[in-house]
Symmetry: C2
């Protein structure tokens, strides 16, 4: 349990940062926010998402026991470097970043020795971004993955687990940064590459009136935040390139079977995909 | 308007044939059914889906003014060849097949001169098959595409349009067989190839607990009827091979941009996919 006497600072009030703040405040914690634009702070105050907020960094940060970085991955390292001088002694820091290997250890390396960074990936969020879409419902069916390194204490991992419970996540698990990035490279990043590449195959706006659910479902994630995903993909480049190659080769195998009108092997590929996909049906 | 005095024969009481029968009977038409198995006929009679049904072909077929072929594409030609001797004079025949170019003209060619075949593609149906999943709801949000050839009369095209209205389709359009097959090659067949190839990329059952909606949505159609889709793909082979190549080349372009960490062009690809996908949002 995280004591209600503790104070949180959310750095970056976007969709995820804003939703964290909203839920923590609802649960009775004192929540401070930092954003780049005053209008974000005004919105967060007016909608009861934070208790106090600022666009200027100052001694006030020192009140926070827990600091959640809701920033873009590459921004995080610089921000910590510049601002950890203002952090409370022994403060615990976490994040919401979607890639880990090239982020977590670098931050741990530059961190003041009394501070600890425990990284986690809340697998929530939709096509929308911005605090105006913040809501606490999106955690209810989502996974929360804690990605500790050998530098982390048992207490910090416990805190991360407690935080996920306070936020109301459906499922909490622990993976190494490498396992996390491999999993995310396949399940999330490759699927986005596929959806984007499919939309980019032709200009198909003349087909809109014939479109059924399967095309819409498959390409929903082709509406994509270009800045964040460019960062995430490049930070996970090697793994994602491997996944693209593996998928391209599976696609090529299918193409050959079709080219040869090899009915038996085509049926076999269909049976395999069906059997595998059934395991992914929601229980 | 199709007169309520007219009699329908549905050949093949699967998901689509069964749903056609159910809706036509609901609307007051006399509906006969032919199936391969007596238990399908028994089910259809017990559930008020047909007025009469048989597994044996006989003179009774001659009662039908309209014959809807709910058969697999390649089965259709042989079935018509063998059984058109029993068709009523001047009967009108239609189908539900998902590919057209290699089906429609061949059937028109072998048809008795007093008969007419007007082809259509009801773009309804889910992962399920079989009459026990028949329902009339699935037509409500679906497209119905009439694919006439120069051999078709204006009256037959009008009948097909009226039939779509009786069935309750949301949107009716007319395309040539070639336009239809190109559209379906991209919007439906390529998306199924992608979903199947993605599931076949790795054995990923250990990732089930981390899976979010985007992966589930993208791979939903990887659960696939191996017999029907093998036929549909091979019948539309040339178009589908072109679509696979076009998509593979779009995927390759994305891979190069990632390999080069070319942020500007990656963002451009994201902006293009986003702009295109927005047009496909349901109004």
């Amino acid at each position: 349990m995280i004591s209600k006497q503790k104070t949180f600072l959310i750095v970056g009030l976007g969709l995820l940062g804003g939703s964290y703040a909203m839920r923590l405040k609802e649960q009775g914690y004192y929540v401070m926010g930092i954003a780049r634009r005053q209008e974000t702070i005004d919105y967060a105050l007016a909608n009861n998402i934070i208790d106090e907020g600022t666009i200027a960094l100052d001694e006030n940060i020192r009140k926070a026991d827990y600091i959640i970085l809701g920033l873009y991955p590459t921004t995080m390292i610089d921000w910590v470097m510049e601002n950890q001088q203002y952090f409370k002694e022994n403060a615990l820091i976490s994040d919401v970043s979607g890639v880990k290997s090239n982020i977590v250890e670098p931050i741990q390396k530059i961190l003041r020795s009394d501070l600890e960074f425990i990284s986690a990936h809340p697998m929530a969020g939709k096509e929308n971004s911005g605090i105006e879409h913040a809501n606490t419902e999106m955690f209810k069916h989502a996974n929360y993955i804690i990605t500790p390194t050998p530098n982390n204490t048992k207490e910090a991992i416990e805190f991360s687990n407690d935080l996920a419970n306070v936020l109301g996540f459906n499922h909490i698990s622990v993976l190494s940064c490498e396992e996390h990035d491999k999993m995310i490279g396949f399940l999330s990043q490759l699927t986005h590459v596929i959806a984007v590449s499919l939309m980019n195959t032709h200009d198909n706006s003349h087909l809109v009136e014939y479109t059924g659910d399967s095309f819409r479902d498959l390409t929903r994630i082709a509406k994509i935040n270009e800045h964040m995903w460019t960062e995430l993909f490049i930070l996970n480049k090697d793994i994602l390139l491997d996944e693209i190659d593996a998928f391209a080769s599976s696609l090529q195998s299918f193409k050959e079977v079709l080219q040869n009108e090899d009915e038996e092997n085509m049926k076999q590929l269909f049976r395999q995909s069906t059997a595998r996909r059934i395991k992914f049906d929601k229980k």
